[in-house]
Amino acid sequence: MKADPEAIPQSLFRFRHAEKAAEQEAGAAAPSFWKDAWLRLCRNKGAVVSMLLLLIIVVVAFSAPALAPYDPNAQNVPRANLPPRIPGVGIPGLNGYSSLAGRPVDRYKLAGVPADTNYYFGTDEFGRDLFSRTLYGTRISLIIAFVAAVLDLTIGVAYGLTSAMKGGRVDTVMQRLLEILSGIPGLVLVVLILLVFSSGLFSIIFALAISSWIPMARMVRAQTLRIKNMEYVLAARALGTSEVRIALSHVLPNIAGIVVVRTMFSIPAAIFFETFLSFIGVGMKIPNASLGTLLNGGYKVFRIYPYQMWIPAAVLCAIMLVFNLFADGLRDALDPRMKE
């Protein structure tokens, strides 16, 4: 059987000159690549589901003021340390009972709480509603996670790329600068920040901006060094493609996978960093909660009120899980080699 080239309709062909024109129109990044990536992302079931979940978490956390049944900072000391009670759920641990001298006791009755008042996640040592605090705390932690991710993706990636692409003396200087930055004790800086600014989001971002992106910068540099000497990059360079363009459209997509993984890791690190700052007095203004401060309070009383540790830990893990699934999908979508 022989194919007749004349029989193929013209519409199946795409002409190189047309594509080139479109490319030039859109500037450095080829639109087809990002569009492709988006389409590939939408085809990945796990990624879509996790994207939706992530969206839900973000929406829920940011509508905390509307959803929270109580003021997260309102104390009610006589109702301190009540275990979770969810109406209609009889499972031990969620029914308001906890053991006293070996026997389960209805803590709500003991504290004189009316039958129609429920604390879904229990209360803390001040009698504050942990459900409301978790909602608000998630919001703050998400903001911090977002800031950390943005810092990683901007300063970290740009620094690493520049350092590796420029090479030579610039690279050496930039690397020594990184060593100096990570060598100076952050805590000294943090205490000094405290003298200049008061606690709050701004201080946290400032403290994060100093050092949180350093591992990312190192990693991006290492990866770029590897890729910039690969044949296709050399070929692009031989063709006269500019360094910036090589970095953005040849190197970056190829290291996207590792960048995404690294970003995911910097998120919990940032959340715990905020906790640490809170206790020095630079983090969120007390009594505002974050997932980190909830966890930190919880681990200390783990033997007595286990739910105070499990709940924030579970929320944090859930967020991380969704983030990771989404990131995996994102990476697959961004990786040009995964094209079918």
């Binding site: 104390q75 205490v191 206790f279 020095i280 007095g281 009594p287 200390k300």
Partner: protein, 564 residues
């Protein structure tokens, strides 16, 4: 190159597997090893030996074992194992003779006192302890060259202040050895608290010969210390988190010392301490916070009040609103101290009765405690507080007041701060409190610059209750509120000088000072700190006291068989 890489990887993997298997197999493999050389003290000892070994606990590292330099409770407690004192504090917070033969003989004007010390007392190297050693110890504390942060604690001795400030030589200090066993103290002013003050390890005997032989290294490790007390320190090289004491055979009262050895372990995490205690690895554990609720009404729990008063201090000089007495009174009456002490601090404190902590001293007539004898001026009355607050608002011509509350970054401070914020905002609508929790050095700097609104501070005295009143006296450096009052200055002056030997008058002046400070609401007393311990119920004969070290186990013993 390839070979090298593969070799490296194999080695890495092998190491990993080795670790994996050793962790998996620890249950069996490790039991064998613990019976071997790996485990001293805690496990291998036989039951009979163990009965005379105490496994004790410390909440943090000792900052110093040098009796002349200690300034914190942890160090003072550890030093008291190995340094003998002239007097000891008993369960009733009274001084009883120890190294001294009897209570001090005080002259009529109350300005000189003589103390006779035992002639059978020896150091752990067998050298005799003489009166000159006490003189040397006291001189060493005030000597600027020593750099003792507790030097001010000896200002009851004549010329101490001038020596500390380098205005007089150390030999001018008001303590002399009249003979090998006779001491004479010259005092700044008459005081009823001389004997209790002399129970401090700051004036424990120190051998000049030994200190000079050690030079710069004195007190830096177990070898460079000489014990005058019941035990000798071992295995401590300056910054450890575990060490031990062995019985001092030369100690004059060695026959009443039961334990041959005391192992001390620093445990900072309360939960870990409780776990170790429950597992029988420790005979005592410091317990705080929520863990107290687990032990309420169990024989293991021992609570001791301390001299630490936690107060809400006010920057009266720097904040216009706080210069309004009605506002300060609103703050004084609005807070529920028993809820704070019981529910928030979980027994880590008791409600403050006044400016002066309970237990520090008793009335000269009838021996009544501060709590019983002083009028009850610190209480909760939210209605009254509201009235005062309304008055304050109208006087200040405003509808709301915002104050910043500075606290340290310790657990209890943060908790108390949060509680106060909520309590005040709820009880006094229109009042807004902003919390700032900062490192202790930062809080302290703010307070010492006298520029702050509210601060969670406090005062820890020694033996003389005067310091609690004096803290607020016009010219005093640590008068953080910068409250100026000729009346209070008069009271403090009377306490320090003119009251002389008339201890009844003196007590009346203390009462007056307390009343003055609370009438003007210069400070808001909150709680008197309490320390809580879990102690093996078989341990008997230990003492707890407000003065000195909270819990003294040097003369304790196990009863009813071996330790747990």
């Amino acid at each position: 190159m390839k070979r090298f890489v593969s070799g490296l990887l194999t080695a890495l993997l092998a190491a990993g597997t080795a670790l994996l298997t050793s962790c998996g197999g620890t249950a069996t493999a490790s039991q064998a090893s613990s019976a071997g050389s790996g485990a001293p003290a805690s496990s291998a000892a036989s039951a009979q030996e163990k009965s005379k070994v105490l496994n004790w606990v410390a909440p943090g590292e000792v900052t110093t074992m040098d009796s002349g330099k200690s300034y914190d409770v942890i160090s003072a407690e550890q030093i008291s194992f190995q340094a003998d004192t002239l007097y000891r504090i008993n369960e009733k917070n009274e001084a009883v003779p120890n190294l001294a033969k009897a209570l001090p003989q005080v002259s009529k004007d109350g300005l000189t006192a003589t103390v006779e010390i035992r002639d059978d007392a020896r150091y752990s190297n067998g050298d005799k302890i003489t009166a000159a050693d006490i003189v040397y110890a006291a001189q060493r504390v005030v000597d600027p060259a020593t750099g003792s942060q507790s030097a001010n604690n000896l200002t009851y001795l004549k010329n101490a202040k001038e020596i500390i400030e380098k205005k007089l030589p150390v030999t001018d200090l008001g303590v002399k050895a009249l003979s090998d066993t006779k001491l004479q103290f010259t005092l700044t002013a008459p005081t009823p608290y001389l004997a209790t003050s002399l129970s401090d390890t700051l004036v424990s005997p120190v051998s000049k010969k030994f200190v000079e032989s050690q030079g710069k290294n004195y007190g830096l490790n177990a070898q460079s210390l000489l014990a005058s007390g019941p035990f000798v320190l071992k295995d401590w090289n300056g910054t450890d988190i575990s060490w031990k004491y062995v019985k001092n055979p030369y100690y004059w009262d060695a026959k009443n010392i039961y334990f041959d050895q005391i192992n001390v372990q620093v445990v900072k995490e309360v939960a870990t301490g409780v776990n170790l205690y429950e597992a029988g690895k420790l005979d005592g554990a410091a317990v705080t916070g929520d863990y107290l609720t687990l032990y309420k009404s169990k024989p293991d729990l021992v609570t001791v009040q301390t001299l630490r008063m936690t107060n809400l201090e006010m920057g009266i000089s720097s904040n216009k609103s706080l210069q309004n007495e009605n506002l300060r009174k609103a703050l004084l009456y609005a807070v529920d101290r028993s809820e704070l002490a019981q529910s928030i601090l979980n027994g880590g404190g008791v409600p403050a009765a006044g400016i002066i902590p309970d237990g520090i001293a008793v009335s000269p007539e009838g021996g009544k405690s501060v709590k019983d004898d002083f009028p009850k001026l610190v209480y909760t009355d939210k209605k009254k507080a509201k009235e005062y607050f309304a008055k304050a608002l109208s006087e200040l011509g405003t509808k709301s007041i915002t104050l910043r509350l500075v606290t340290s970054d310790t657990d209890d401070s943060i908790k108390t701060g949060q509680y106060l914020q909520n309590a005040y905002q709820t009880a006094l609508p229109g009042l807004k409190i902003n919390l700032a929790n900062v490192p202790a050095t930062v809080r302290f700097k703010e307070m010492m610059s006298y520029k702050f609104d509210l601060a969670l501070g406090g005062w820890t005295g020694e033996y003389d209750p005067t310091s609690y009143i004096k803290q607020h006296e016009t010219g005093y450096e640590h008068n953080h509120s910068q409250w100026k009052s000729a009346e209070l200055t008069g009271i403090v002056k009377a306490l320090e000088t003119s009251d002389g030997t008339d201890f009844v008058k003196r007590w009346a002046h203390l009462k007056e000072g307390n009343q003055y400070l609370l009438d003007h609401a210069v400070v808001v007393p909150l709680t008197q700190e309490a320390k809580n311990y879990l102690v093996n119920p078989k341990l008997k004969g230990y003492q707890t006291h407000v003065l000195g070290t909270p819990i003294d186990v040097t003369r304790a013993r196990f009863e009813g068989g071996a330790a747990s």
